[in-house]
Subunit: 228 residues, 2 copies
Amino acid sequence: MPSSQPAIICVAITGSLPRKSDNPAVPVSIEEQVESTHAAFEAGASICHAHVRNYDETPSSDPDLFARLKDGLEKHCPGMIIQFSTGGRSGAGRARGGMLPLAPDMASLSVGSNNFPTRVYENPPDLVSWLAGEMRNYGVKPEIEAFDLSHILQAKAMVDRGELVSPPYIQFVMGVKNAMPADRDVFDYYVHTVKRLFGDIPWCAAGIGRHQIELNAWAAEAGGHLRT
Amino acid sequence: MPSSQPAIICVAITGSLPRKSDNPAVPVSIEEQVESTHAAFEAGASICHAHVRNYDETPSSDPDLFARLKDGLEKHCPGMIIQFSTGGRSGAGRARGGMLPLAPDMASLSVGSNNFPTRVYENPPDLVSWLAGEMRNYGVKPEIEAFDLSHILQAKAMVDRGELVSPPYIQFVMGVKNAMPADRDVFDYYVHTVKRLFGDIPWCAAGIGRHQIELNAWAAEAGGHLRT
Ligand SMILES: [Zn+2]
Ligand SMILES: [Zn+2]
Ligand SMILES: [Zn+2]
Ligand SMILES: [Zn+2]
């Protein structure tokens, strides 16, 4: 049942993984990220999902880098929704939320743990609660990253406990090796589960790597928003 | 659709968590475990899912303790299927599979990571592959512990890669805080997913703590096996 609202397009400007040596077009410096987002904004993207990098291209959660990115995006992309990633540095503990006092419009929030291609993506329960609390404190809207089905039910439990503001905004992430594959039957069940637990609320979906176009098509057809 | 086969009952004699200080009836020594299993065997249980403990009651994966348990069970419960847990000591790495050369009939195998009440249950991809390989080497039948939906799809991926013998035997685990709750809609989708991916194969379900009776009822109704 396609939504009558136009789909919101979220652009992920720099993931936590690819480096310039993999793909010279990957925007890594703050200046490159702002210009790349500016182009996506003019092409119609309305949310910017952002990671930042250190000078050596390793994933960072340095609040100063996030502050410079926020300044640049506010100048070049006025009105764009800025979403910071708190997920890029598994194992880094509360440093992952050190940029939340900058009060971006949104931040990603993982509410469970799962496997990634070569490691465990660790989101221990006490860190999840702390990140959710910081987001409430600074008025940041979480985007729940559902790498597995239980993460949708965990979002419901957190809403019921008052840890998440109702309704939550959930993104289905599919196609990560050793996590949830891009599976249409599961995708449809995700949509069913969100509707069953929360009613007719907005949600979005992201397909990783070669699954991006596939997931965009499924999400558009089912009335969800898209990440590109 | 209830199965025409009688349900197999699996008894978990000592979990990884409760201690004598919580419940004096918890069997902790090998002798206590054997006698408690003997009673369950005479009451009709046909699989014994076993953890072992050190003298201080902390979880152990000491192959000598597993060997003593196996000897005792073979004497007191002839014909019972012995299943060793490889899951009780998150973080212990390959020590978790140190008892597999004893060639028990079965062993539990977690194929993904997830949250537990207060921590991450870590099953990194390389450890999962190694444990599955040891089970193939020693002719041990894995019981896949599905703490989340993606674990069922991961079992399918491992069968397709030849890492698991087909068909796998999957247990749905529900009711662990911060993992998958005991949710009937999800339970039905688990059953649907096993059937979709593998056809009409046996499976079982376990409800943790107060959810045990509920899950037993659901499993019996849907034609699955039970853990008590
Ligand atoms: Zn991200
Ligand atoms: Zn610009
Ligand atoms: Zn166990
Ligand atoms: Zn006996």
